[in-house]
């Protein structure tokens, strides 16, 4: 499944994630939030398997419980007073419900970022930044290239020093700090000296502050274009419903009990479709594979 998701062009994935998150950030309609949470959990289950799913469920519950509890304690808006707190402030039904909505919102946001981490490996992030600023992409790429070099060097330094009891995990606290400083300055000194070679190598291979093309291993297929257009039109549709007031849901002073009109339902379905489109495409491919294999 992860492989199939990585067949999408990074721009398609960007369009997908941005539209999904934009809707959650802007529209706080409870049904919309629930749809978002539900589908994000499906993604986690589909791409991460059971252990990751359970871990996320646990994490979601803890952080949701926190927000749900804190909100009614700090916010006293709303008119349906349930009871009064010891400090004399009212605890209102509205603030409890708003807390619950916020909890759903934050956990679905966190969940969506799991999908982000699946869709965007460093290669794709570097590509996306490269579209905006090639030099920033190069800087990122250089940084990511330096990290393992530094890690190896750090391991070397620590090995040599821990034999003579001078690692930063050895000795009294003061000594530890001194050892840490020694290790840090040695690490940085070596890395800086070596970086001059890197710069020479860049110049020798023609890098100069001027225009350069940027290599991309990704190809924008027709289906990516269709995908992006679908996502954006769904987003536009939902935003249309929102700005025309069909999805106005307010929690305070009391719930403006929005009735489930046809346009509301349309917006929900549109959103659910938008969120699950990549999943549908991947599923379709999986099923096709099964079909082909059984045909053989």
């Amino acid at each position: 499944m992860v492989k199939q998701l990585s067949r999408f062009h990074p721009l398609s994935m960007l369009a997908f994630i941005v539209s999904v998150l934009a809707v959650v950030l802007v529209i706080n309609d409870p049904v919309m939030l629930l749809v978002s949470l539900f589908i994000s959990l499906i993604y986690i289950f589909a791409f991460g398997g059971r252990t990751v799913f359970l871990r996320y469920i646990l994490m979601t519950c803890i952080c949701a419980a926190g927000v749900m509890l804190i909100n009614p304690l700090v916010s006293h808006r709303g008119i349906t007073v349930l009871f009064y707190l010891p400090d004399g402030n009212p605890l209102t039904l509205e603030s409890v419900i708003y807390g619950a909505a916020a909890a759903v919102l934050i956990s679905s946001t966190v969940n969506w970022f799991y999908t982000v981490s699946i869709c965007f490996n460093s290669e794709r992030i570097v590509y996306l930044f490269g579209r905006l600023s090639p030099r920033l992409a190069l800087l990122l790429s250089l940084t990511l290239g330096f990290v393992p070099k530094l890690q190896r060097r750090l391991a070397d330094i620590r090995a040599a020093r821990s034999v003579v009891n001078r690692d930063f995990t050895q000795g009294r606290p003061g000594e530890r700090m001194k050892n840490a400083a020694c290790i840090m300055s040695s690490l940085i000194g070596g890395a800086l000296e070596n970086s001059v070679d890197t710069a020479d190598s860049m110049t020798s291979r023609g890098y100069a502050s001027r225009r350069r093309t940027s290599f991309s291993p990704f190809r924008l297929y027709a289906r990516d274009v269709v995908f992006i257009l679908t996502q954006l039109s769904c987003l536009a549709g939902i935003m249309y419903f929102y700005f025309s007031g069909k999805l106005d849901f307010s929690y305070y002073p009391t719930f403006s009990a929005a009735e489930l009109t046809l346009s509301c339902a349309a917006a929900y379905i549109l959103y659910a479709f938008m969120c699950s489109l990549p999943l549908i495409v991947c599923m379709k491919e999986s099923i096709k594979w099964k079909f082909i294999r059984s045909g053989i």
Binding site: R153, S162, V164, L192, Y207, T213, S216
Partner: protein, 875 residues
Amino acid sequence: MEVYSLRNLSFRYPGAAENAVNDVSFNVSSGEFVLLCGVSGSGKSTLLRCLKTCLRPHGEHEGEVLFFGETLDGYSHAAQTQRIGFVLSSCDNQTITDTVLHELAFGMENLCISNGEMKKRIAEISSFLGLEGLLDCTIDSLSGGKRRILNLASVLIMQPDVIILDEPVSQLDPVGAEEFAQVIRKVNLEFGTTVIVCEHELDAFFSVADRILVMSEGRLISDASPEVTVKELPEKNPSLSELFPLPARVFIRAKTGCDRVPTDIPTARAQLSKLQPFEKFTPQLTEKPKQKPFVTAENLFFSYSRGSDDVLHGANIKAERGEIMSVVGGNGAGKTTLLHCLGGVKRPYNGKIRIDGADPSDRKSRIRAALMPQDTTALFVKDRLYDDLDEAIADNVSAADRKKLIDDCAGLCILKELLDRHPYDLSDGERQRAALAKLLLTNPQLMLLDEPVKGLDRPSKRRIGELLRRIALGGMCIIIVTHDMDFAAGYSDSCTLIFGGECTHSLPVRDFFTGSTFYTTSARRMTRNIIEGCITENDVLSALGNSDGDDDSGRGTPVDLFCNIKPVSSKEKTHTARPFKAVAAGVLFLLFLACGALSAWLFGAGNTAPAIGGCGLTVLFAVISAIIAADNSFSEVTVTRVRRKRHIMVLSLVSVLVAVPLTIGAGIVIFDDTKYLFISLLIMAECMLPFFAVFEKRVIRTRELVIIAVMCAFCVMGRAVFYMLPEFKPVTAVVIISGATLGAQSGFLVGSVGMLASNMIFGQGPWTPWQMFAMGLIGFVSGIVFSNASSWKSRVTISLFGFFVSVVIYGGIMDPASILMSHLPFTPSSVLACYLAGLPLDLVHGISTALFLYFCSVPVIKKLERIKLKYGLIE
């Protein structure tokens, strides 16, 4: 067609008394394979660098370099990039990006080649050089040999007319070296690419090359085919015959009377077998009394994590005092891991290690071991070799003894003249000796050396070998991991082969090398079945009846540096008393912390008036401690400033004055002032964009860009290393130092890109833009605050500053961000509650930043300044 013609080229480094390259003239024709050799310091690398304008070092040069008949400097940078491929000597440092694919594309991107063409060339070159399966790998996961081939591929892909290689194989193991030499040969023969190689490990190239150029003291002293060179050079300059491959060396010194001197092993064998039949060579051995083993390791099993493959699989090893043991074996056989286990760095999950009867991983035991890593620069931490050697000596040695020890040790390791040099400015051979000296000064009983002679030329290897012999004679046990069979045969007492994590056999060195066919020395390969029993060059020479060969095995006088040194008990220890000022500043700093916490608490409790008083006190304490602390700990560091144009100010001002109010207005109108998160994200983007826009457009030196990248990578590392301590991380300290030394813009970049890149590893989230913004701002602010070199006087000031920005800026942004992210109501009381809740972690963050800055800022800034001065980053 002449590719290169050099006419009387001379080069002199600035401030040097003599020319590094002196009046050199030669031609290289198209399709030729030219090998440039000479002892280290003969100017061959400098000469090579003069063949490409952008790599030519700073200095005066005379004479002409013609490239295809026209002067080299007349070619544009792009033309030179495309036509002259240059592979630098360091394998790791010249890779630029993180993945193989991008590394290959890098040069082509600079030449503005279209995406389609790039893909085509990558496909071609990767199938030619066998990199197909590795395109998506990170460069870090490649083996040394493959990385070398990648270096070559990323240059070849630009389809150059000539490739120049600076010491391409000396860092590789024999198998990798052989493979790489084959590839270069193939490129030369099949593409007709002209090849110029500079190398001191000549065995791989000598017989392949069309021409050998020999340099000595900056002059070109020989320019002829290999056969002619081996014949004529020894007559002109006998000492330089040491450069030749072993067969040539032996035949020249043995004076066999053959008219042709062989340059490779097959010819040498053919010629040897034509001579009279030889008897088995039996050297005179001095029988050593059997001792109790000093180091024993039994059935070691080691793996990096549960379930992963074993790196060590039942390894056994035994070594005595005064013994030099070589451990040989292929790449990834577990040699280095074995060394680390013996040093107690890694703990085997099964098996027993005893060194002098104690377990090395038990820190309380008094075993003294010392480990030399492959990259010896990892051992050096100071700016002067003397200080570095001093750092190695235990604290309980008195000042006079320290000086004596360092002097003795420097004399022993031939470092006397180098004590004032920067460790990184030493040549390879000098650096290895300095590393040995540093190990010796820790007074070890056991020395563990990982590839001590890798990449060294023959004289340097001999010096190291003789030094090790003398040290071992003093009763030290030395265990060496090496790929260099000739070195192992020449200088060790016993040898162990490790294969697949297991020690297959361990024998006295003679039995080991005469008994094995593959893992053996070139002398043995040359004489096998012709003269039995020879394993070193000197053996062959003695067997051939030549006695005037210098005796490598001669053992010098034993060494015992520490025989007259008596440890001072810890009370008498020469302790430099802390200056009063620092203590006072520290106390005031604590008071300031207490006041800050108190006033924050008062605010929280609603007592506004006393809280304001508390704030006043806090500021007072901060100011006083800063003034008191204005000692001169930075007087030795002069911070130079990288000048910048003021685009960034104008752009950010415009953005803040125009775009931000507009965004807020739009937020109020469109979203009824309820979408704080959305609006705040937009505002942050607006604040950050000008920085990135300026970064994209401004002229930046490549070296500066790379240094920024190093600092970003350092941020990532800081988060990774201290991941288990919440908020206790050196990241902010690194960002502040970057801002202070590299300027506000670079400070911003280091902060924001560092956070972005580290989140690629630790997980992106809604928090990423906030962290980028907060860290970037810290870098920017410290750049502005410390832009004036006179405004900072002490490391206490910078530590205080670090504490303030960590708490005020980072905490000040990240705490309310958590309200926005969790959609809690954004009211003054909720913000205050959030600050109070976040205060403990903010304080930890602030204190850790202050501590890191206090201990690290001076050395790190010194290092940055050195780089800036040495490589001319300041206009």
